[in-house]
Assembly symmetry: C2
Homo-oligomer: 338 residues x 2
């Protein structure tokens, strides 16, 4: 079973309000661009691909009521573009939709639909390529996977990246279970990934992040599948904090560590992980859990949002267009995508 | 500055109520054995050494009002002994105090004081030996340490094990900072270690468990110091879940990983870590944080309380009686303690 976390229905965008998950499943109907700006700002929708689709539909909603080129239209496009200043994909997809606005509302809507369908096709492709690879790498059946953060349909439109591979393995009848790291500090694993897996009927168990390497070492896992925020030209991979420790555990245990991300995550302009800047997201996410202070008031914290897994620990990268087998000596730059 | 988390004052035991930390610091006066049983049961006092001292003082309180050998006395001793069924040290120290009860209340009290003083001496010894070792292993000044869980005075009487080393480095003026892993699922790092370090005036920062390996890899740490729940005859070390991943990160970064634990933690009867059974503490600690459900209701979880760090990743073990330099080829069995 599948579901779209963002879609177009009867003249409006319908999206799941991610701020209420996992305890409440509420679908929000968005009929004008201002409401879309608000939904993006309050994180009702998140994840680069999903934000891009949301932004493009936002432009369509604007084009329906304001003549493209009018000051009102331009103002709405600007506010959509900057609703999440660090989300490069949002700005890019708003621009892509706005570029055809001169041809009218219907044309913008078609562009947004096309973008949605491209995201779906990319997830399907990653799922198929990744599942093929895992079935080749792992001889044990059923296959026991481990993953971190949320890389499913909630961050994209449907299926996702690493979670798309897990879903495809499940659909092929070869999946044993998905072990899910809770992913402190924001708990995307506990809150979102478990919710998606439950909805998809995929057997899963949750664990604290510190338990990942121990379960790998005791032989509970056949493959680790993670997403990526950014991949340097040499294959070093920036992803959610905790990924690097999981890669070390996988190496110790001789378990393949596989990164799944769209081709657009490859940043050919950054030679290696040393060039990837790691954002510190501040104290409160660490000293608070689910809104409650768990450390003495005033405690200092360090909170790197991401870590970098050196390519030497990555067996393979699966994108929507190719599989790069680092452990076989492939390089990212060897050839372009298929 | 130091403080005792459990002590004897004016005819009663005074201990800090650990269930209220870190937000409330409340000292409880315990004047009879029944109140001590209650304090142990509700976890107001925890940690093997502290529980042993609490149990011994409990016997003294019983001997003050019931003639040793009377059914009332024996009943109180039994309830002290079994207040925490899995705490072997509690039963052992209750027995030690009860063994001298025939000589009267004052004698039992002297035995409890002796036990308290032995625990203090052990912590002082571990702190000194450990600090000497760290100053030899690390050339950089000031020294930046990383630790997991709570290994300070709260688990012992004062100073602790790994945290005793950090405190001693601080007192010697060579400590830069202590980086503290929050230590999910029970958050001993956030709740207890930060509280102790603040009280001691030791500079510290908190981090999520998944960030440990990343900070090691980027060169933020000079030495990792951890406690141990049990050490096998070959040096494999069982400790709080997350310790193994930290040891992998330390090895990757070339940072020494040092275990600090009393000699009594060495279990010569268990040949290696493979023989250490790992308790699973159930679902609720994982799906709940600080009492709030963070995953969908009904989510399954795996919750190993400990992991095993292979001796090959441990640079040295510091006990109250010796330093065993595994990385230099020392074996635990080479010689007895000094």
């Amino acid at each position: 079973m599948s579901f779209r976390t963002i879609d177009w229905k009867d003249g409006a965008v319908v999206l799941i309000d991610q701020t209420l998950l996992p305890h409440t499943e509420e679908w929000v109907r968005i009929g004008d661009a201002a409401a879309m700006v608000d939904a993006i700002k309050r994180l009702a929708v998140r994840g680069a691909p999903a934000l891009g689709v949301a932004g493009a539909y936002g432009v369509a909603l604007a084009a329906r009521v304001h003549p493209p080129g009018s000051p009102e239209f331009e103002e709405v496009v600007r506010s959509l573009r900057s609703a999440r200043p660090t989300a490069a994909n949002l700005a890019r997809m708003v621009d892509r939709a706005a570029a055809v606005a001169g041809e009218g509302y219907e044309r913008v809507l078609r562009e947004a639909h096309a973008l949605r369908d491209e995201e779906l096709a990319a997830s399907l492709s990653m799922g198929e390529r990744g599942a093929d690879l895992v079935q080749e790498l792992v001889t044990r059946r059923p296959i026991r996977t481990m993953t971190i953060c949320n890389t499913g349909g909630l961050a994209t439109v449907e299926r996702g990246t690493a979670l798309a591979v897990i879903q495809t393995l499940h659909e092929r009848g070869v999946l044993g279970e998905a072990l899910v790291l809770e992913t402190r500090p924001v708990l995307q694993g506990s809150r979102l990934t478990t919710w998606e897996l439950r909805r998809l009927g995929v057997p899963h168990r949750l664990l604290v992040d510190g338990a990942g390497p121990a379960l790998l070492a005791r032989g509970d896992v056949d493959v680790v599948l993670t997403g990526a925020d950014r991949i340097a030209a040499n294959g070093d991979t920036a992803n959610k904090i905790g990924t690097f420790g999981l890669a070390l555990g996988a190496r110790w245990a001789g378990v393949p560590f596989v990164v799944v991300a769209p081709e657009t995550s490859v940043d050919a302009g950054t030679p290696s992980g040393a060039g990837i800047e790691i954002e510190d997201r501040g104290v409160s996410e660490v000293v608070e859990v689910a809104g409650r202070l768990v450390a003495p008031a005033g405690t200092a914290a360090t909170n790197p949002a991401f870590d970098v897994t050196p390519v030497g620990l990555v067996a393979a990268l699966v994108t929507d267009r190719r599989v790069v087998r680092f452990e076989k000596g492939d390089f990212l730059a060897d050839r372009g995508p298929d």
